[in-house]
Symmetry: D2
Subunit: 298 residues, 4 copies
């Protein structure tokens, strides 16, 4: 075990906890830090070491992995006085698996390089189940050599692991992922209301639709959410709203037209404004129902 | 073989010809009619019988199958003086596999019932390859008994075969299929331009996207069209334009909101107005490229 | 007065009644027909003559004016056995002031020409107030000579009277009018919710907005509807929904892209689906409020 | 004249120069600063005093007026070491007439209050002509007392001058103005292409449209741009793009749905991506033409 890199893991939420535990199972030495005491206890129980600060966690690490909610959290962790750039050793590899703006990843890589710290952005897709089962899709951005060095470790976390381009490219692909997912959920939601209002058997229809060119992972995984109006998360509208902000801003910066993407971003924002931010993103169906006067809400 | 129903097949285009031949291979006696002489010769060569008119084809048939481009063709075939309602025998089953408006199917079923003729609407999804390989998805509308009677025959044509509701329900589901497909192609097209303008490796990105929640049959089948800008049809923009007209009209009739669907219908219409009606529907990518000033056209 | 043309007026609704009365005031002999007895009595009281059928009204007329709700009413009036083409004399001038599809006007002109009857399409803008005060905008399509002949009469009904092109052109311009009006109402509605949610004084804001490049007749006339959430019609959502159907269909036929127009057509349809079809079109504000979780509904 | 406040004017561009000169004409003592030497010479020739730095300009001023392109310029001017907060005297009134984000105005007012400096945000609408002729619409945010103090001075610059709410409210109303303007231009552009493709006389049509409920200041001022395809600015797409960013961001922050506004923001961005950023905003017509395959470009 001694020739495996020593890991610091920061951010032990719904995704981070099972991911860190998968590294421990794979034989890595993991020192973790997060703000919630119970999550640190859980890590310790799984065989990891609980640090009392981010600085303590990263000081001796070969690889530092961050998995936090949004750009400001990454920036605070990286640049703060108790943070990574101030305390990690030269030559360490920082893998940020959070979903943040591509520009934040690019800026971080540059600032870290000045300290001799290498960076990969490596956000994931696949949800809590994918984290637990170590079948996440991992979309990385950065240098080939750093990606090659990280790959064995990433293979303990996910199944599809691809280097997509330079720093920020992983975040860009994650943003594209969220774009396609939101639009496809909306398309299915419009189809559901259209089918129901037309008097069609929804279960039969979704089965045959999923068997043809309209088939998708969204339809497979969210079919029951649609049919049963079960909008327990899953992936919350609030988070998808954050992500639609990332993709529309990034698209505006590079000059890519998203006529449908921006409309759907607005519909996601609208659901949130109506108080549905805590529901699963399949609740886009609720928005279409309201627009159609087709209320099944109880 | 003598107890299999006798089939009349009208409409021997890109889809109809291989479908009729699959029935012949399955042991059915098929008498065909279409306007193009070479298609009739092809049917005869495959073991079918060429009729000289629709009336001649349908007179003795137990089951009449129509596979023609649009509502006016179905109406002319059904109601014309040389047509099906005038010449089919009482008790015959008419299976219309064309993609037309649900209302046309409903009206046809009613008019046919007055003549003692039963009707199913049974449009398909899966394209020329699905027709040739007999793996079409078939979405039917009509009476359960008629569907049960037709099922053995339909199993010689497709793989997923589902009764979705009353008359017109098959067309409604087909319309929903075309809605989801067009919107998802557009979502992928927006993602492609966003990825390229962001400097990401497109091939790597599409691979990882297809492995996660953004994955879909569209992404699987159209990936190479996107990457290579290969817009040879495939399924033509002109036909998808017709279908978007069906779904937006039908949704308007039943009062279902399609904010994203109508926007995409407009983008499909726009491509056609720009002279791209003959291209594959993956050419929605061209529209996004133009809107983004990201021209790869030669 | 004997050299003024004899008028038949068919359709005495909210618009038709005051318009017919304005002709009577201007000295014309007007024979009217409509389905509602009380409207015929009102016409007689104003100095007109009530006919017992359309046929009776039109038989001796020099000029026949129709003002009815939609295309099917015009077609029934024109082509029915009791109708205009069957009973008007050769050389009569038919002025259809209804708002219908351009194609219906084109077809009518052609059919009427076969009977020696001349036709103008001449829909109006300006609402009930404009009809009463004879200040309507009248947008005509047809032959210059027929327009010149009709002009003195039209001047008794409106203020801005323009020949816009061949048969159907008046309807096309009316359709464009309804497109711009709906989109501009929606723009104002989005601005209103944005302003209120931002804590701005709405009355002050609308005053200054109307003084700049954002100023419009919509803002002038509908300002109080927005401020007071007073959605008594006025012009009903149901009617604007019909008109958005005309413009989106006609645009589809000629290949004109309406990305924003079709989205707004969907929002109008959505209001109707939510049961607000009977409200004034300024109620598009309600739709934006709901999408924004900004409910002021009581 | 000695009891008129002493003015410092920073930012002497297309708008700022004539505005500052209008103050001089009204009897005010104006010390100006800008980066371009020729603009300072022009101010001196008009009777003002050219300062060699912002600090020098503001030191003795009773009222400081800023008119610069965007939020970063305002922030640099306000917070920089040579800037306003560092050098203006306690009790001075800072009137920022730039069009920037509401949040920047709110933050500035707070920071300035710590230094005893009062602030109004007072962006304008009306363009270069409005600036020269002193008929601008001025939409202000801030304290009533400060607005009252500023009014005599503002009356030398504009015609419609309204306090719309607290700090930032002026910017919010300006953002709403730009929203309505862009959407209404787009509506007119869609109507123009629809009318031309339908064979209607555009000049006649726009005349009658402007006379009815579709009438607007946009139609009045931009009619000739549409008819002649004259897209010389005027107000550039690049600037309207910046403003659409402000309004969509601000709406997202307060939770106001802009389904049509965000779509139009995308169309503005798209024109820019196609290289038309330097054209007048009426060039949204070009975008509709391209979407409609209706090219009149030479």
């Amino acid at each position: 075990m001694s020739n495996l890199p020593k890991i610091a893991w920061i951010g032990l939420g719904i995704m981070g906890s099972p991911m860190a535990e998968n590294l421990i199972k794979a034989g890595y030495t993991v020192t973790g830090y997060t703000l919630e005491a119970d999550k640190l206890e859980r890590l310790a129980a799984a065989g990891g070491t609980a640090a009392t600060s981010a600085a303590e966690a990263v000081t001796d690490a070969d690889v530092i992995i961050t998995m936090v909610p949004a750009s400001p959290h990454v920036e605070a962790l990286a640049y703060g006085p108790d943070g990574i750039l101030a305390h990690a050793r030269r030559g360490a590899l920082l893998i940020d698996m959070s979903s943040i703006t591509p520009q934040t990843s690019i800026d971080l890589a540059k600032a870290a390089a000045d300290k001799g710290i290498r960076v990969l952005d490596a956000p994931v897709s696949g949800g809590e189940a994918g984290a637990v089962e170590a079948v996440l899709s991992i979309m990385a951005g950065g240098e080939q050599a750093d990606f090659d060095a990280a790959r064995p470790l990433l293979e303990a976390l996910g199944k599809t692991i691809v280097l997509c381009g330079p720093h920020g490219a992983g975040q860009t692909v994650k943003a594209a992922n969220q774009l396609i997912v939101a639009v496809n959920i909306q398309a299915c939601a419009e189809a559901v209301v259209f089918l129901e209002k037309s008097g069609v058997d929804l279960t039969a229809a979704l089965e045959v639709l999923n068997g043809g060119l309209a088939g998708s992972t969204v339809l497979t995984r969210k079919k029951d959410n649609f049919t049963n109006r079960d909008f327990q998360p899953g992936f919350r509208i609030d988070l998808h709203h954050k992500d639609m902000g990332i993709v529309t801003d990034a698209a505006r910066t590079v000059g890519a037209a998203l006529p449908v993407g921006t409309l759907v971003a607005g519909l996601v924002a609208s659901l949130r404004a109506q108080g549905d931010g805590g529901l699963d993103h399949s609740a886009l169906l609720r928005g279409v129902e309201r627009l159609s006067g087709h209320t099944t809400e109880s």
